[in-house]
């Protein structure tokens, strides 16, 4: 019986573990190893160079520029996305006219809103990026045409071709495609908060803005924190939007260069795989710091209800 049990365990685990070890674990470990070599990625001979790649990295202007952009993305994109997500889900769940004599209700047709808001979430980021590349096109794009159409010609921009606007244009796309997910996620959380809490607070004279900050947000905090980490990982990546949408890519004038794309160019265009993996390791470190910071800042007593 025991013997059979272990054979069964080994039989079931063997394939998944082997596959995972070859294609996921070993590349990650190799990446860290290669970051200490001068490997080009093209030939098979390379030697250990100690921390030279990391020295180069610390002095590389473009690297720091990319880090700056990633940090900006990391601050702005999750904040705006989660903020809008919370706002809209609160509107959906509490913004209703007090029908059926209940003090707090969802708006009429809230599931229709959720269905529509969720659209971008089922589309590939590649499709979304292309869609917005066309939308931003200064000549025949929807955005400038719309601004011109309502008489706001002064607001028309070159968008992705203007270094002052390019990164912000990307952020809009990242927010646009993710808000719906959080509206649905937070709505699920909000609908499990007992209505009595709101009713009691409203009877005690609280207004609805208060109920949001005093009831909804604290009770949803765990979910918000998870969302923050998810969004942080998306903001740190940004590979697809940069590679598909921007001029260069990474331009104009390196104004949209991010770590993820920098790794890619260093390997597949510059033939500097050693340096590329060092950038990748730096990215991993930023991710881990971010996760720790969110964990620390967000730590609160867990509320049971």
């Amino acid at each position: 019986m025991q013997h059979g049990k272990y054979r069964f365990i080994a039989g079931f685990l063997a394939l998944p573990v082997i596959l995972y070890a070859i294609f996921v674990i070993s590349p990650f470990v190799q990446a860290i190893y290669y970051s200490f070599t001068d490997w080009t990625g093209l030939s098979s001979d390379f030697k250990m160079v100690g921390f030279r790649n990391y020295d180069w990295l610390l002095k590389d202007d473009l690297f720091w520029k990319a880090v700056g952009h990633n940090v900006l993305l990391l601050l702005v994109v999750p904040l705006v996305t989660l903020g809008l997500g919370l706002f809209f889900s609160f509107m959906l769940n509490v913004g209703g006219r007090g029908r059926k004599n209940a003090a707090v209700t969802g708006v009429r047709g809230s599931s229709v809103y959720k269905v529509i808001y969720f659209f971008p979430q089922v589309l590939s980021i590649a499709i979304v990026a292309l869609l917005f590349q066309f939308t931003y096109n200064p000549r025949n794009g929807a955005l400038n045409a719309f601004l011109g159409g309502i008489g706001l010609d002064g607001l028309q921009q070159q968008w992705l071709a203007d270094p002052n606007f390019a990164l912000w244009s990307l952020m809009v796309v990242m927010v646009w495609s993710n808000v719906g997910f959080y509206v649905v996620l937070f709505s699920a959380g909000m609908s499990s908060i007992p209505r009595d809490f709101y009713e009691a607070a409203l009877l005690d004279g609280a207004n609805r803005v208060n109920t949001f900050f005093r009831i909804t947000l604290p009770l949803l905090w765990d979910t918000v924190q998870t969302g923050w980490i998810y969004m942080g990982i998306i903001a740190l990546d940004a590979f697809a939007v940069v590679q598909i949408m921007t001029v260069g890519p990474g331009g104009p004038a390196d104004s949209t260069q991010v770590l993820g794309y920098y790794v890619y160019t260093k390997t597949f265009h510059d033939g500097q795989a050693g340096r590329a993996t060092a950038i990748g390791v730096a990215m991993l470190i930023v991710t881990l710091i971010f996760a720790v910071v969110v964990g620390k800042l967000g730590r609160r007593e867990r509320l049971e209800y």
């Binding site: 998944p16 674990i25 209703g96 269905v115 659209f119 025949n140 045409a145 646009w176 649905v184």
Partner: protein, 314 residues
């Protein structure tokens, strides 16, 4: 659209399909509360919230509708009046994109790759998760954390060495290579999700099957998998969308022109067609790639929403 979404709130219509993970929105009986202050504030808020909700609804749908509209126009119309309605519905753009721009080929490549990967992911993921959830053995925690740890690492870091791992195994630019990679990178979330799902299932049924003489393998396939169906559906939807929409992995690992999947094919099409000026075929390609997924989502909206958010609610 209203008629599609509203019935799903009625108990008994779609509740059967709903996985038990989703916290069911408690329907409370109407209760009596004092009217007055609360009511009037509620009305102002109601107008305000509908206003804001409609604005975001428009912001989401407008770019999509604009793309559909543009895909039915001539190139000249796209340039002269970006927001104008097409003078005639040029469905020939769609057929041109499907056959001449190879969207059809990309589509079938994607179906092949995602179909095989999905089956593989679900099978291997469920097998590993079941063992990790239900059996005690040395090294169990190490294996579990090895899988789950993969969720938080940036894939781009592994991508450079992965490219050369694939090259050495002659797996670059092959469908089976891409399928193996898709499976491997889908395992962390699948194992994480299904392990906790298998833990919530009662043990008594499986024990009864074992006592009746069924082997562990048979118990897994004939007893546990059917019991785990709601969890398998959730994670299956999650993986399907993740793999169907995957862009970075095929871009790096699958550069053969004939083997492109939909996402990368579209991006490369965009790069070439913009020079040729065939914008209408480009929009048509984009719409052709978008519509099947959106249509499937509208049909299975409830399952898709729970499937994608289930992982974050844990």
């Amino acid at each position: 659209m209203t008629s599609q979404a509203e019935p799903s709130e009625l108990p008994g219509v779609t509740k059967d399909d709903e996985p038990p993970l989703a916290a069911p929105a408690a329907k409370r009986p109407p209760r009596f509360t004092p009217e007055g202050r609360i009511g009037s504030e509620g009305k102002v808020l109601n107008v305000f919230s509908h206003g804001m909700l409609v604005i975001w609804g428009l912001l989401v749908t407008m770019p999509l509708l604009w793309a559909v509209m543009s895909s039915l126009k001539t190139d000249k119309e796209i340039f002269t009046s970006p927001w104008g309605l097409p003078s005639a519905l040029h469905f020939d753009n769609w057929s041109r994109a499907w056959s001449k721009s190879n969207i059809g080929d990309f589509f079938f490549n994607t179906v092949l790759v995602v179909g095989c990967s999905l089956v593989g992911t679900m099978l291997l993921g469920a097998m590993a998760a079941y063992v990790l959830a239900r059996f005690e053995f040395p090294g169990k925690r190490v294996v579990y954390f090895m899988f789950v740890g993969g969720m938080s690492f940036p894939i781009i870091l592994a991508l450079v060495p992965l490219f050369f791992v694939m090259k050495n195994m002659s797996l670059l630019n092959t469908f089976h290579g891409l399928i193996l990679v898709y499976i491997a990178y889908s395992l962390p979330f699948t194992v994480f999700f299904l392990t906790s799902f298998f833990k919530t299932l009662p043990t008594s049924v499986a024990e009864a099957a074992l006592i009746d003489g069924a082997s562990h393998t048979r118990t897994f396939f004939q007893v546990m998998l059917p019991m785990a169906k709601p969890g398998l559906i959730s994670v299956g939807i999650f993986n399907f969308l993740g793999q169907w929409n995957q862009y970075m992995l095929p871009t790096v690992l699958n550069t053969d022109e004939d083997k492109r999947v939909l996402t990368q094919g579209l991006v490369q099409l965009a790069a070439s067609q913009q020079y040729k000026g065939d914008w209408s075929a480009l929009f048509a390609g984009l719409v052709l790639a978008m519509l099947p997924v959106l249509a499937a989502y509208i049909v299975f909206q409830r399952q898709v929403q729970t499937g994608l958010t289930a992982g974050a609610l844990k």
